[in-house]
């Protein structure tokens, strides 16, 4: 008991007895997580303000007579006339490796019931993005484990690649697969003891999602053993809009810590459509002038300043961003979609029709692009999958025309046949990312025509047989592909021999 008293006395002694100057104001009106405050004459834009009862706010509207603040935390006890004080600080969140494996709210407080987080540092939620001098171009691959993406729309470390599509087309699944794949690569890399290996840590920011969906995502990550390399920032739909607004910035701050400390991180914003809606709500309550679709004028800046924080830094690490946008009826030309498309370095467009046809991941090859990723793609993938995107796009065009006529020449038939096989080959179940070396082996087999004798309906089956053949019997060859990352003549010969061996055993 005496030690407890000593602790309190120590704390009292630490408190300064000097006079403290505070700038104060009073709540004039409060509604929907936004407070209008009289006073606060010294408050600065984006400054954190203290409300009674421990709630904090951020000053967003500095007007002549009043200050508009969004409130983070419990607002049920606040009332008109309550005193509000400035803090002189920007909103900060805990950062560091202590957060890995944890689920936190938008202020970095744990919400997973696993106890307090022992974070040593905090980073401001709002930060200026790195400038051009400190940036380095994207040249290192970030493997998603999804064959269609890694071969046709490659992503590099430090890139911003948008994932866009209607609801229920597998947008979140792609990002979860990517996170799981990073964890798998991390485990292999860390076990190898390679001093040059750079693990990728992941941050998943859930904005405006149902709690049940967030739990499902956490369970999927936990089941795949990926949670230990992942931080979950949860701002569920039931949170007030201010929390939804701040969540992606909090996640970005956590990711920046890894980047600034020479590590690589991946951040998923799921999704920015709901983020824009939360910001619109706040802006309308703050009586900011509204523009197109009632969004405020600075909705572009809302996302550009967030996504610009993803970068690859000279002499430091990188932060790769995978923002998600949900479209309505496949309309990519909506306001927020076009904004984010123009900010990012490419997009992966998922189509409902493809999804319903059973082509999963339902990636639309024609509308998907990676503007910088090809520089990051490893040579082995380029060698086996360099022409795939063109071939598949051509196939889709031919397939559309083939519907009108029954008489097709042999060349067109062959192209259609090959296209169908590629489509089948790219089908991949959820939460089972493929290692890049295995992708190279499968694509090599496809390029060399090993799937041609196989009936189209049985291509998926044949591909899984080939995968298990390689993983169980050709592990040294896979390791060689992984380490060399390029197919030289020797490796090509080995792959050819292995495929022949598989062919004889499969057809037999």
């Amino acid at each position: 008991m005496s030690t407890v008293l000593e602790q309190i006395e120590q704390q009292i002694a630490q408190l300064s007895s000097r006079t403290v100057k505070k700038n104060t104001g009073n709540i004039r009106a409060i509604a929907d997580g936004v407070a209008k405050i009289d006073g606060l004459s010294d408050v600065m834009y984006n400054e954190m303000v203290q409300f009674p009862g421990g709630a904090i706010g951020i000053a967003l509207n500095l007007e002549e007579d009043e200050v508009g603040c969004v409130i983070l935390g419990d607002i049920s006890n606040l009332k008109e006339g309550d005193e509000v004080t400035t803090t002189g600080k920007l909103l900060s969140v805990p950062v560091g490796k202590a957060l890995l494996g944890r689920t936190v709210d938008s202020l970095g407080n744990p919400v997973d019931g696993k106890g307090p987080i022992d974070a040593k540092e905090t980073y401001p939620v709002e930060r200026i993005a790195p400038g051009v001098v400190v940036r380095k171009s994207v040249s290192q691959a970030l493997f998603t484990g999804i064959m269609a993406i890694d071969s046709m729309i490659p992503i590099g470390r430090g890139q911003r690649e948008l994932i866009i599509g209607d609801r229920g087309t597998g947008k979140t699944t792609i990002t979860i697969d990517t996170i799981i794949n990073q964890a798998k690569i991390n485990k292999v890399g860390l076990a190898s003891g390679d001093p040059n290996f750079r693990p990728v840590y992941s941050i998943y920011v859930a904005i405006g999602q149902k709690n049940s969906n967030i739990v499902r995502t956490i369970s999927a990550l936990e089941a795949a053993g990926a949670l230990e390399f992942t931080i979950i920032v949860a701002a569920p739909a039931a949170d007030n809009p201010a929390n939804l607004y701040i969540a992606p910035y909090s996640g970005a701050a956590m990711g920046e810590w890894f980047m600034e400390n020479g590590m690589d991180a991946l951040i998923v914003y799921d999704d920015l459509s709901k983020h824009a809606v939360a910001y619109r709500q706040i802006s309308l309550i703050l009586k900011r002038p509204s523009g197109r679709e009632a969004y405020p004028g600075d909705v572009f800046y809302l996302h550009s300043r967030l996504l610009e924080r993803a970068a690859r830094l000279e002499g430091k690490g990188s932060l790769t961003a995978l923002p998600i946008i949900e479209t309505l009826a496949g309309d990519v030309s909506a306001y927020i979609s076009t904004n984010v498309i123009s900010i990012t370095d490419g997009q992966i467009f998922l189509e409902t029709d493809l999804f319903n046809q059973g082509i999963r991941p339902a990636i639309s090859v024609g509308l998907s692009v990676s503007r910088v990723g090809s520089a990051a793609q490893i040579k082995a993938t380029k060698q086996v999958g360099g022409k795939l995107k063109g071939e598949l796009a051509q196939f889709r065009e031919l397939a559309a025309f083939a519907q009108f006529g029954s008489d097709l020449d042999a060349k067109t038939k062959a192209q259609l046949d090959r296209g169908n096989r590629i489509v089948e080959l790219f089908k991949q179940p959820a939460y089972s990312p493929l290692p890049i070396e295995l992708q190279v082996a499968v694509l090599f087999a496809m390029q060399k025509g090993f799937f041609e004798p196989v009936e189209i309906k049985r291509v998926v089956d044949a591909a899984s047989s080939l995968k298990s053949f390689f993983t169980t019997r050709k592990d040294p060859l896979l390791s060689e592909i992984r380490t060399k990352a390029v197919l030289d003549k020797d490796l090509e010969a080995k792959l050819q021999a292995a495929c022949e061996e598989w062919k004889s055993s499969y057809t037999a």
Binding site: Q11, L15, T19, K21, K22, N23, G39, K287
Partner: protein, 131 residues
């Protein structure tokens, strides 16, 4: 409605600017403004008057140091506080005592939005927040 409120705010601000004499709010001028509003009723007199009242109250608070105290304060102490605040803000600030037992011990001086506090209550509150 929003446009009306904006116009009322603007009018209140204009009337506020007219309420000064020699750099300070003048009772005579405020009386004149009130008489003007009575005579030429604006579209929403209540909103105008409330906004005007808020501006005047904020201005008056800037010229007054409300000294809240838990123990006794004498005139010399009040004069010293008034002099210190006048120096700090570069304008005349008068001190007004106000007893507040909730402070437990010490002083809290409020000049406009600024609060200078050295009281046991505030230190305990800071301690409670830090635990």
């Amino acid at each position: 409605m929003a446009a009306n409120a904006k116009t009322a705010q603007l009018l209140a601000r204009q009337l506020f600017k007219m309420s000064f004499a020699d750099g300070a709010v003048s009772a005579e001028r405020v009386g004149g403004v009130l008489a003007y509003i009575e005579k030429h009723r604006p579209a929403s007199p209540m909103v105008v008057l409330k906004a005007y009242s808020r501006l005047i109250a904020a201005e008056l608070a800037r010229g007054e140091a409300v000294v809240e105290h838990a123990g006794a304060v004498n005139d010399a102490m009040l004069a010293a506080i008034a002099a210190a605040m006048s120096r700090r803000y570069g304008r005349k600030v008068a001190a007004r005592p106000k007893a507040n037992a909730a402070l437990l011990a010490g002083l809290r001086v409020r000049v406009g939005d600024d609060v200078y506090e050295s009281s046991i209550a505030s230190q305990l509150a800071a301690l409670a927040l830090s635990i």
